[in-house]
């Protein structure tokens, strides 16, 4: 080990002191800065990823809609399934409905689906009952909607559609559809959980008087990343239909999350920069305090760059240890994120902001290696510069002045 590295380690961690003040405070400061940067980035990544996942689960990799309901959806689905890029195609219909169970009622976003489709995303979110029990006399409810209706698996509910009001206008007595709850799904996305009601497409067509038509077709592609190009190609020859790739569904919302992540990165960047400046300031004080020692090192034959190394390495070590601590703190904070958020909500009385604003029942996460690499590189760079500036100043001094000024 070079002598200046050995001396730098001893100056940072003097023997006999378990928590040397300068090193402890500096490493903690950098660690907190790195942790705040990574926690924000990881949670924002989580929001973005979860929204993308939900969009793809709800609308597939590409959704086909028109100005009017699709007149011959079965023919279109059969044709699309022959395309080499298409992994699956299924027609759907959707519309608002009024659900009632005894004295409780709620507005639902009712979707007509193909119950035989083994790749229906709702299958993986069933918390009670069985998805495969879904038939013309049954319904699957979102968790929040079921809770509002006080409904459980096996309970019977009434479903009213706008088409029933048309029937009433024509003098026919409108009778609600009676359905048995066969399953409850909980996706964690409150917009879905509080509103979703799934029934077979055939039953939907009856209740909504839709005939053979459908409101759209959901496509699953072999390469979802190429959804835009595939949608453009498939859309040729269908001027009355829009082929919308998943990236364009709720595009503004996803852009807003990305923008929010960028802004928060800059805020956290400034926090880490401030921590680095404080290290630079403290190292500068240490260099001045050690002026006499610097003079002595020169008298022992130390070169300018070895002195730069002595103090520069201290900045680098603080950066490296602070980054490592930041990684650990990030993991701990994210592991206990629900408890931390609960405490914050309890103190500030904000209610469940995650559910209210971002529509998730839990704070989502998505670890992105590039965020960690960028945070580590940025922190090591700034702390090393913070150490190098006073080091260069120290190395440039005359040893006689250094010894006299100490």
């Amino acid at each position: 080990m070079p002598w200046f590295l050995h001396l730098a380690l001893r100056q940072l961690f003097p023997p006999g002191k378990r928590f040397p003040a300068f090193a402890t405070v500096s490493i903690l400061g950098v660690g907190l800065g790195v942790a705040s940067l990574l926690v924000v980035q990881t949670v924002m990544n989580g929001f973005g990823e979860e929204h993308r996942l939900r969009i793809r689960e709800s609308f597939g990799d590409c959704v086909i809609v028109g100005a009017a309901p699709i007149a011959n959806p079965d023919e279109l689905v059969a044709k699309l399934r022959l395309d080499k890029e298409v992994d699956g195609a299924t027609a759907y219909a959707e519309g608002p409905g009024l659900l009632r169970r005894g004295d409780f009622s709620g507005v639902a976003g009712v979707r007509g689906i193909d119950p035989a489709d083994k790749r229906q995303p709702a299958r993986q979110y069933v918390t009670a009952g069985k998805f495969d029990d879904l038939d013309d006399g049954r319904v699957i409810l979102g968790y929040g909607l079921a809770r509002n209706l006080r409904a459980q698996v096996g309970d019977r509910i009434e479903l009213w559609s706008p088409a029933m009001a048309e029937r009433a206008e024509k003098g026919k007595a409108p009778l609600p559809a009676e359905l048995e709850v066969c399953a409850i799904v909980r996706t964690g996305f409150t917009e879905v959980d509080d509103r979703a009601a799934l029934i077979p497409l055939r039953r939907f067509r009856e209740i909504w008087s839709l005939g053979p038509r459908a409101h759209g077709v959901i496509l699953r592609l072999k390469n979802p990343a190429q959804a835009a190009a595939t949608a453009g190609r498939l859309g040729v020859g269908h001027p009355d239909l829009r082929f919308v790739p998943w990236q364009d569904i709720k595009k503004n919302f996803l852009e807003a999350i990305r923008f929010e992540k960028t802004m928060l990165f800059f805020l956290m960047f400034i926090i880490t920069l401030v921590a680095s400046f404080s290290i630079g300031s403290t190292l500068f004080s240490a260099v001045i305090r050690r002026s006499r020692e610097i003079g002595v090192l020169v008298s022992l034959g130390s070169g300018r760059w070895q002195l730069v190394g002595l103090f520069g390495v201290q900045g680098l070590l603080i950066g490296a240890l602070g980054t490592a601590l930041g990684f650990v703190l990030t993991w701990v904070m994210l592991f206990f994120r629900e408890n931390i958020l609960g405490s914050i909500n309890a103190v500030f009385g904000d209610g469940d902001m995650v559910a209210n604003v971002y529509q998730f029942s839990k704070v989502p996460l998505h670890y992105d290696v590039s965020d960690f690499v960028i945070a580590a590189a940025f922190t090591l760079l700034t702390t090393t510069i913070a150490g190098l500036v006073p080091a260069l100043w120290a190395a440039g001094r005359k040893p006689s002045e250094a010894m006299r000024d100490a």
Partner: protein
């Protein structure tokens, strides 16, 4: 003619003060030979430390030249042979507070380019010679003033320099310890064949040098 190991010609140094230029050293020339000890006395502020810094290459003179004999390199400017051709002993010991006695001495050898193992062996041998073999792992804060100065002397000698420059090495010590340190310094330096330039207030210690000078008004004169 004995081997000259330190040579200064026409050294001059002045400091800029509010009242104008203040000459501290005026046309000083001196030669020191191997095995010789030279004392320089003077009142406080007479420029003794400044002269030592010029001789040791810690500061540049306004005029004049200094040369130090470097093993295998002939006479070179002192700045080029710091730590190897010249060893310093300071009044306040100037040990690294985070390093043990052994590490402080070995540090000087490491800076001079010696590997860790040989540096530690040389440091151990010198500390034994100055009577600190049972204090190797002690930090300076756990050593007495006299012990610290012994470590500093060992550090100055570890690279076998041709010249030792000692700036008030007994200034912070009581009388009895001061005598012990002077005996040690003169003895060890003579034993190793190095030259000693000793700056001191003490007439008694100055008298023990083979040649004696007084610095007054910036001029160096024989005592």
């Amino acid at each position: 003619m004995p081997d000259v190991v330190l040579q200064a010609r026409g050294l001059a140094k002045a400091f800029v003060a509010p009242a104008g230029r203040l000459p501290v050293l005026v046309d000083i020339s001196i030669e020191v030979c191997a095995g010789e000890s030279v004392s320089i006395r003077g009142s406080s502020g007479s420029g003794k430390t400044t002269l030592l810094q010029q001789l040791g290459g810690l500061d540049e003179p306004d005029a004049g030249t200094v040369g130090v004999f470097a093993h295998g390199g002939g006479m070179v400017p002192p700045r080029k042979t710091l730590g190897r051709g010249i060893g310093f002993v300071f009044q306040n010991y100037q040990l690294m507070p985070e390093l043990t006695a052994l590490e402080n001495v070995a540090l000087a050898a490491r800076i001079a380019g010696v590997d860790a193992g040989p540096a530690e062996s040389a440091a151990r041998e010198l500390l034994a010679q100055v009577g600190l073999i049972d204090r190797l792992d002690h930090l300076p804060s756990r050593l007495s003033g006299g012990e610290c100065q012994r470590v500093a002397i060992a550090r100055a000698l570890v690279n076998k320099p041709s010249v030792i420059l000692a700036d008030e090495p007994t200034g912070n010590l009581d009388e009895r310890t001061g005598v012990e340190i002077m005996n040690l310094l003169l003895g060890v330096v003579a034993e190793r064949g190095a030259a000693l330039v000793l700056v001191t207030h003490s007439r008694e210690f100055a008298e023990r040098a083979t040649r004696r000078f007084v610095l007054s008004g910036g001029v160096l004169s024989p005592a």
